[in-house]
């Protein structure tokens, strides 16, 4: 069976959920081989094996990470040439997409980004994407080279399957051209203790309607174990960090449940949440466009509705 390369997304060996999803998808297409760049392989090995990685190609040199995506693209191109994989799967993060874009040009291969489903199809790979702010679903295939697919988080339910995770250190040296860009400083963000926006099963977002006070939104989110998001209006006002922005120029989320609080539902916001399974809104204005999308809506003041809901949810858990 042909190999399928999966670029591992990890922080110091702590493997992110998207990698388990990619390994699960890879098993539909062939035999998963993880590609692990950076430090922390020992910590990562167990979870790579648990989700079915038969092999792990790894490169330890910190140089590769310091120089961003180009060395990773060169490494994958080298592996594509050596192993002739059936496909290469990367996470559809900004960095993953950059690696994929360079790899596509290097290997003259078709690239599909933001896939929400990937299946094997007559000898190739068939993908599904959601376009135009979620108003259309398109099916696509790669017609040239090795299919390179950037897959969105939450596109598969991780399924365990024992793999050998036999590791092989790859003989790889980045080219000089790969060193043109360099990370000179990296300030870690403070952890919020909440789930990550794009991976969360539930997302609760606040908008201009919070007037800058996100405490009720956060309390409600915590009662549900949810991630907290924000509209651009709230981000532009400096009330919440940009990395929490949901929408066209922020994160595209597709959780089981999305709750919009004090958000009107502009097209650019919809672009980031329209494909959520269940949508709920709390808004004072019964004509807010967000209500066109909801499974359940409360016309009311979020400062009274949310605390009451939070209390009721907490009470039901006791």
């Amino acid at each position: 069976m042909a190999e399928v390369l999966v670029l591992v997304d990890h922080v110091e060996g702590k493997v992110r959920k998207t990698t388990a999803e990619l390994l699960t998808i890879a098993r539909r297409l062939g035999e998963p081989s993880a590609v692990f760049v950076g430090a922390g392989f020992d910590a990562a090995k167990e979870s790579l094996a648990r989700f079915g990685a038969e092999k792990v190609y790894r490169v330890e040199s910190p140089e590769v990470l310091e120089h961003l995506v180009v060395p990773q693209a060169e490494l994958l191109a080298q592996l594509v040439a050596e192993k002739s994989p059936a496909a290469v799967l990367v996470p559809a993060s900004p960095e993953g997409k950059e690696v994929a874009a360079r790899l596509a040009v290097k290997t003259e291969s078709g690239l599909i980004t933001d896939a929400v489903d990937v299946q094997a199809a007559d000898g190739g790979v068939a993908t599904t994407q959601s376009v135009f702010a979620g108003s259309y679903t398109v099916a696509a295939t790669v017609t040239k080279g090795t299919p390179i697919i950037a897959v969105k988080p939450n596109s598969a339910t991780p399924e365990e399957a024992a793999g050998a995770a036999a590791d092989e250190v790859v003989d790889f040296t980045p080219s000089d051209a790969a060193k043109g860009a360099r990370i000179t400083e990296s300030k870690p963000k403070q952890a919020t203790g909440r789930p990550e926006l794009t991976e969360a099963a539930i997302v609760v977002s606040g908008g201009r309607g919070t007037g800058g006070d996100f405490s009720k939104v956060e309390d409600f989110a915590d009662s549900l174990g949810a991630a907290v998001g924000a509209s651009r209006a709230a981000v532009d006002a400096g009330w919440y960090p940009h990395t929490s922005q949901v929408g066209q120029t922020g994160k595209q989320v597709s959780p089981q449940l999305y709750v919009a609080c004090g958000i009107s539902g502009a097209i650019q916001h919809r672009a980031g949440m329209q494909t959520s399974k269940t949508i709920v809104a709390v808004n004072k204005d019964n004509e807010a466009p967000i209500f066109e999308l909801v499974d359940f809506g409360v016309v009311g003041d979020l400062f009274t509705v949310l605390p009451q809901a939070t209390e009721a949810i907490k009470a039901s858990k006791d």
Binding site: P94, G110, L111, G180, A181, T275, V280, D295, V299, A309
Partner: protein, 263 residues
């Protein structure tokens, strides 16, 4: 400092966007278009750099006749000149082919220090053209810049701040380089009356594929490395229950959530 800004003409996101049923490509004829809003940030950033120092801003677009509007808008904002690559063979090109045409056009322009692009187009939203373009030109790329500082001296650099999930990074690339910018980077200006008048006299060149030495077989729908096999309008969401808060809105919300097993 010679800056090229890549701008795309896109169907208006506020309009009903759709596909051509005949070949599954984006419908660009029946939907009003405009300069991709996200590319206005790229134009603005280029203008700021030139205004703070010296140099020239060239806007470059690859697209059909109407794409001239995107160039016009950028010239009205203050860019110095425009290049429009327009060729019937380009219809249906994917990111790979688009990046090839852009790369050849930039090579033809010659001496370029900095290429600035938007973070993603508002229609395709793949956000991969900038990186592909950098790969083809052999340039370092720093993408998703929320802040950009350019040092144009000898051995010049472009330094950006990128706001990531885990960290905020400072990234430096040696010039010539490609930078893609987010909508956090600046506030794009509106064209002034003076700008609108001045734009009428600014030079715009129109190039065909033959001017770039690109063979028609390398672009367009038939050359695409990926193929859209079908498209379906997502069934519109049906509105569910809406309740007015009469003192019990929160309880009703909690009840809905537990009925759906979210609690």
């Amino acid at each position: 400092m010679n800056i090229v800004v890549c701008v795309k003409y896109v169907p208006d996101a506020q309009a009903e966007r759709t596909f051509n049923a005949s070949d599954n490509t984006t419908d660009r004829e029946n939907v009003d278009g405009l300069l991709s809003e996200l590319d206005e940030y790229a134009v603005e950033e280029a203008l700021k750099i030139v205004e703070a120092g010296e140099g020239e801003v060239t806007v470059l677009t690859v697209g059909p006749d109407q794409a001239a509007d995107a160039i016009k808008k950028a010239l009205q904002m203050g860019a110095d000149k425009g290049v429009h690559v327009n060729d019937a063979a380009i219809h249906g090109s994917d990111a790979v082919a688009t990046s090839l045409v852009l790369a050849e056009a930039i090579k033809k322009l010659g001496d370029v220090d900095l290429v600035i692009t938007g973070m993603a187009s508002t229609d395709g939203t793949m956000g991969v053209v900038p990186t592909m373009l950098a790969e083809r030109l052999g340039l370092p790329a720093v993408t998703f810049a929320s802040e950009l500082t350019v040092d144009g001296g000898a051995g010049g650099t472009a330094t950006i701040r990128r706001d990531g999930d885990a960290s905020t990074q400072t990234i430096t690339a040696t010039l010539p380089a490609l930078v893609s910018v987010t909508d956090q980077i600046n506030e794009p200006r509106y064209p002034s009356f003076k700008g609108i008048m001045a734009a009428k006299k600014k030079p715009v060149e129109t190039w065909a594929l033959s001017d770039l030495g690109v063979d028609a077989s390398q672009v367009g729908l038939d050359a695409a490395w990926t193929k859209v096999s079908s498209f379906d309008a997502r069934p519109p969401r049906t509105q569910g229950e809406i309740v007015n808060d009469e003192g019990d809105g929160g309880s009703k919300l909690a009840a809905f959530l537990s009925e759906r097993k979210f609690v």
